[in-house]
């Protein structure tokens, strides 16, 4: 009874969706931005439905599986212009040209009412490393820092390039479906604190399909990172209508350009051009990973988001992991 009352109330709220953008997924997300019944979330933990928009690469499958399992119950996955993975039972598919809102709303309602079962995990129920019963206290760890306590190792000391205080270096992979990164781009970052020490491109961004609306979508992503979600949505809607009118003035009023410090002058120029619906030229000589070293988190995301797809493809190509590391070493020695 109580559950049904709760469902009755809950199904009236906007459907929280995490959109995993594949090829052209950006433009598809923009189509949803103007629908008030759907709210696009930044974290998968805040969503009820994982929406895979546009075709994805084979390399993105593991990420997709991981993402799916992180959804809180009750949950469902919708494939919009994408081929369902083999694990997906009773998959909901929507053609790329169709508008998915009605299906999403119905699915959401069914989930809340319990009429559709929540999807089970796709990955096996096991920790990243075996730890139970191992180690000094059965927690998997050894000594002070060793072993895999509770399934993961601990971060170890690493080189530090900015202030010579050698503390733990943390290596994480972000993307390819992080909403503040260009779709498809996945980076391996070595962080000390929130400053990037080293970066490596794991998978490159999806190639652009050359729509005229691309600069505005890019501007929208930067505005999100600048903490202006409403203006970002406005940019997405403008992108759908192919008119950037008034957008730059609105961004100026919000201080979007002023907020960028002098070190990010290149980002400011690109944001301004993107808000006009154009693209600022970039020589594209320096690799993206070199431009990211030593940057703080928000600035780094802003800089990544500011490149147009053509430049990004040029400066952040898919690299063989080994080659790239050697490159980095050589550069260090040269410096």
């Amino acid at each position: 009874m109580a559950v049904r009352a709760l469902a009755w109330l809950a199904e009236r709220s906007a459907t929280p969706v995490y959109i995993a953008c594949g090829q052209d997924g950006d433009a598809m997300a923009a189509r949803l931005a103007q629908v008030p019944a759907i709210s696009l979330q930044h974290s998968i933990r805040h969503a009820a439905i994982l929406l895979v928009a546009g075709p994805y690469r084979d390399a993105d499958r593991p990420a997709l599986r991981r993402l799916h399992d992180q959804l809180p119950h009750p949950r469902a996955t919708v494939w919009w212009g994408a081929v369902p993975l083999a694990e997906a039972q009773d998959a909901v598919t929507i053609a790329q040209g169709d508008h998915p809102v009605a299906r999403l709303r119905r699915l959401d309602r069914n989930l809340l009412r319990g009429e559709r079962a929540s999807e089970p995990d796709w990955l096996p129920d096991e920790p990243p490393n075996e730890w139970r019963g191992k180690g000094d206290h059965g927690q998997g760890g050894e000594g002070m820092m060793g072993g895999v306590p509770y399934g993961r190792p601990m971060a170890m000391m690493g080189e530090e390039m900015r202030d010579a205080l050698m503390l733990d270096a943390m290596t994480i992979t972000i993307g390819p479906f992080l909403r503040t990164l260009p779709p498809g781009l996945s980076l391996e970052l070595t962080l000390q604190g929130d400053v990037i020490q080293q970066a490596r491109v794991v998978t490159p961004a999806y190639p652009a399909s050359g729509g005229a609306s691309e600069p505005l979508l890019r501007a929208a992503r930067m505005l999100e990172s600048l903490g202006l979600p409403d203006l970002a949505r406005r940019a997405q809607i403008s992108a759908m209508r192919d008119s950037a009118e008034g957008l730059l003035a609105a961004a100026r009023r919000c201080g979007a350009l002023l907020a960028l410090p002098a070190e990010l002058a290149d980002v400011r120029a690109r944001l301004e051009a993107a808000l006009r619906g154009g693209t600022a030229p970039d020589p594209g000589e320096e690799w993206l990973v070199d431009r990211l070293a030593g940057m703080e988190w928000q600035s780094a995301l802003l800089r990544i988001a500011s490149f147009d797809p053509a430049t990004l493809a040029q400066i952040a190509p898919a690299a063989e992991p080994d080659e790239d590391e050697e490159d980095g070493d050589e550069k260090e020695r040269a410096a």
Partner: protein
């Protein structure tokens, strides 16, 4: 004393109102395993525990802050007697703050307010 009791009572009521949400029984959905517990990174993964010797980029600022914040201890009582004491109070606090202001200017010159 009564004021303190009231304060604590009000805080307890506030916490008690939020408490049920952290022990909420009514949840829909199926079983979830350890693959759900993997930290969210937009499809990416974390090589180690996030708990680490976290390299804070503003540590000189925090030390400066501790020393500077001490001055608040003196300022609150000063504010109460300010009007009674008059211009002398203004002069003394002006001197006190300008001494500490020197510290801030020095720290700024040394680049403390940047990410290290």
């Amino acid at each position: 004393m009564g004021a303190l009791a009231n304060l604590i009572l009000a805080m307890a009521v506030g916490a008690a109102l939020l408490l049920p949400m952290l022990w909420w029984p009514m949840q829909l959905g199926g079983a979830s395993g350890q693959s759900q517990q993997v930290p969210f990174l937009g499809g990416g993964s974390q090589s180690a525990h996030a708990w680490q010797r976290f390299h804070i980029r503003y540590y000189p600022m925090t030390l400066l802050f501790i020393a500077f914040e001490m001055e608040m201890m003196f300022m609150y009582p000063w504010a109460v007697v300010y009007v009674e004491t008059g211009i002398k109070a203004l002069a003394e606090m002006g001197m006190f703050l300008s001494i500490l202001g020197v510290g801030i200017v020095y720290a700024w010159r040394e680049g403390v307010f940047r990410w290290q």
